[in-house]
């Protein structure tokens, strides 16, 4: 395993370059950038912008998966927080809107963390509850309608620009730096990995595993809330049915593509975000190539399988498979 470490990330970067090259081949103006009204435009910027929600989700998800958990509720949390932001946007200022939405995400994360860390539930099961109920709660907030708003502050969050970069991209970048500084600038990341590697051993060694697990679910909820606010700001409205629908799966996929093992114990924030960008580059490429967007799902399925097989500890050539098959016979 340690021999593999120096090569970490090369495969993802290589994959991204290959996909970018394919995109360039199907759409010659793919790398064109132009500056207009103080904001950069172009397919590359579009990839970054569209990839922001999944990138934000994967930032939280990667920490949860590092503790050997999983959070299925992030899509529903996005819907809840988007709904809260949209319904408050026209009557309150941006700070209140953000505080309410992020606060709701924090509460959702606390709920998940409480179920997993304190009640000891399986993460898939614990977060399934909010995944099922969350969309109903979001509908409750929007009263079943698509809530639209026109508050310029919130719209700026989705469509504005900072130093030429779209605001969502800047926010995602900021969150990546913040999360990276907190978990890698201190021993926190190591403790999270220890919790995922062997929770019991870590606890005996003095790691506060419960606090770690609680913290990562809370952080995941906050990231999802931010993604939900950005998604709502982007379309200037909240659609409780479709906001963040199936994005939990994309976020998990991004984390897996980023080389983080679903069995916990190690993680890479940058590679998870890179995974999100790889997914979005594929999506954009398929759209640009003129193929129906339905191809997305097929391509994703093939990518998941390929990454899984590459990660599989059992894959050491065909000989390994053969012995494995022989071993299954009674």
């Amino acid at each position: 395993m340690t021999a593999l470490l120096p090569r970490r990330g090369l495969a993802q970067i290589f994959a991204l370059i290959v996909i970018l090259a394919i995109d360039r081949a199907v759409s010659p103006q793919f790398f064109d950038l132009r500056l207009q009204d103080g904001r950069l435009f172009g397919s590359l910027i579009d990839v970054l912008n569209r990839g922001t929600p999944v990138a934000l989700l994967s930032l939280g998800m990667v920490l949860v998966i590092a503790t050997r958990g999983i959070d299925l509720s992030v899509g529903a949390v996005m819907a809840i927080c988007g709904a809260i932001a949209a319904s408050l946007a026209d009557s309150h200022g941006l700070p209140v809107v953000l505080a309410a939405a992020l606060g709701a995400g924090l509460v959702c994360g606390l709920w998940n963390g409480f179920l997993v860390a304190v009640l000891g539930m399986q993460p898939i099961v614990a977060t399934l509850i909010l995944m099922v109920a969350g969309r109903g709660i979001a509908q409750l907030i929007t009263e079943g309608r698509i809530v639209t708003f026109s508050s310029p502050d919130l719209v700026w969050l989705g469509n504005g620009a900072i130093l030429g970069l779209p605001v969502p991209v800047a926010i995602a970048l900021g969150m990546l730096l913040l999360t990276g500084a907190v978990v890698r600038g201190s021993a926190l990341g190591l403790l999270i990995e220890a919790t995922g590697g062997n929770a019991r051993a870590s606890e005996l060694a003095g790691v506060g595993t419960r606090a770690m697990i609680l913290a990562v679910y809370v952080w995941c909820g906050v990231c999802a809330a931010l993604a939900g606010v950005i998604a709502a700001a982007d379309i200037m409205g909240a659609d409780a049915n479709n906001a963040g629908l199936w994005l939990e799966l994309d976020a998990i996929l991004a984390v897996v593509i980023g080389g983080t093992s679903l069995f916990g114990g190690r993680f890479s924030l940058v590679l998870a975000v890179l995974g999100a960008l790889i997914i979005q580059t594929m999506n954009t490429g398929i759209l640009l190539s003129g193929y129906p967007p339905e191809f997305n799902l097929l391509v994703k399925a093939v990518v998941v399988l390929a990454v899984l097989l590459l990660q599989s500890p059992k894959l050491s050539g065909l000989a390994g498979i053969a012995t494995r098959l022989r071993g299954t016979k009674p």
Binding site: L119, I124, V132, A133, G144, G327
Partner: protein, 326 residues
């Protein structure tokens, strides 16, 4: 010990809930409403039966909703556009579904991957394939469909037990017999208890894994056929999220999500509880349908918390012994 208490609690919740509904809307307690409830949830009952096997064996199958969607599109296109007799199309799609499930089971076992992520890939694959076949809703006009739709057993009180409800009841009974009375069923429980132990005791773990996922996908294919009877159309976006509904039904039915405990009857009761909530909301008229989701979520939480408490109680003496030994 086979998880009887949770099933009993599920049954009590169902009866109490039904009584409460009937107290408010006396018309609910009629064979007409119950017959409709069975018809509306026929596909869910079938797919949840397959899911029960998967979950008891310690796995999960996220691909079932997509398999249903693919099946409806395949059957509709086969009978309407390709000129294949519907019955031939049914056999073909069932074989295809079974092969699909077997492939997922094989990947899970051979490469030792989490079922969650493998069946997630399967979900993308099946949904993507159904989009490729057709993105529009294809109405089915084959005569078999009107024959089956018209067929129904009259129940006392004016209720109709439709063909698809009968298929569902047959699958539930067949599934219960398979799970509780055969060697295959015993092996499913053994796998859920502990894969390693089951393997050491002579269970062919690989073959069983393949068969269990094959069964789940086969039943999902059958559920797709039933769904196409229900809607008389094939649509690639149909049955989105059914995997969640069926997992919820299984859990509410008292099956342990960690595997090793559960029953098909419990799952059936879980399906009925979900159907009952839906019916109540329809009767009420002022509540929106999204209350179903919240109610299902609350029930899920209640049952999982209950299971957690039962498991903790059951494990306590074991933990003490282990502590004493070391």
């Amino acid at each position: 010990m086979k998880g009887l208490p949770p099933v009993l609690i599920t049954a009590i919740v169902l009866v109490a809930g039904f009584a409460a509904c009937a107290a408010q809307f006396p018309n609910i307690a009629s064979t007409r409403v119950v017959g409709n409830l069975l018809t509306d949830n026929a596909f869910l009952g079938i797919v949840a039966t397959g899911m029960t096997f998967v979950i008891i064996s310690g796995g999960i199958d996220l691909s079932v909703g997509s398999v249903i969607g693919f099946t409806t599109v395949f059957v509709a296109l086969a009978s309407e556009r390709w000129g294949v007799p519907p019955l031939v199309a049914f056999v073909a799609i069932l074989a295809l579904s079974a092969a699909f499930g077997a492939a997922m089971g094989a990947v899970i076992h051979v490469f030792d991957l989490p079922p969650f992520i493998v069946t997630l890939a399967g979900m993308f694959l099946a949904r993507g394939a159904s989009f490729l076949l057709s993105t529009e809703s294809v109405p089915i006009t084959a005569p078999v469909y009107s024959t089956v739709s018209d067929f129904a057993l009259r129940m006392p009180g004016g209720g109709r037990l439709t063909a698809i409800a009968i298929i569902m009841l047959a699958i539930v009974i067949g599934g219960a017999l398979l799970l509780h009375l055969t060697r295959f069923g015993a092996n499913v429980y053994a796998l859920g208890g502990s894969r390693a132990t089951a393997g050491l005791m002579g269970v062919a773990v690989g073959k069983m894994t393949v068969k269990i996922y094959m069964l789940s996908s086969l039943l999902a294919g059958l559920a797709g056929i039933v769904f196409s009877f229900y809607t008389s159309a094939g649509y690639s976006l149909s049955a989105v999220g059914v995997e969640l509904d069926s997992i919820a039904a299984v859990v509410i039915g008292g099956t342990l999500l960690t595997g090793g405990q559960g029953s098909v009857i419990g799952t059936f009761l879980g399906v009925l509880i979900q159907g009952m909530i839906q019916t109540y909301i329809n009767f009420d008229g002022t509540l929106s349908s999204w209350w179903t989701k919240i109610a299902t979520g609350v029930l899920l939480f209640a049952f999982i918390a209950l299971q957690q408490a039962l498991v903790t109680l059951a494990r306590r003496p074991v933990a003490k012994r282990a502590g004493a030994a070391s």
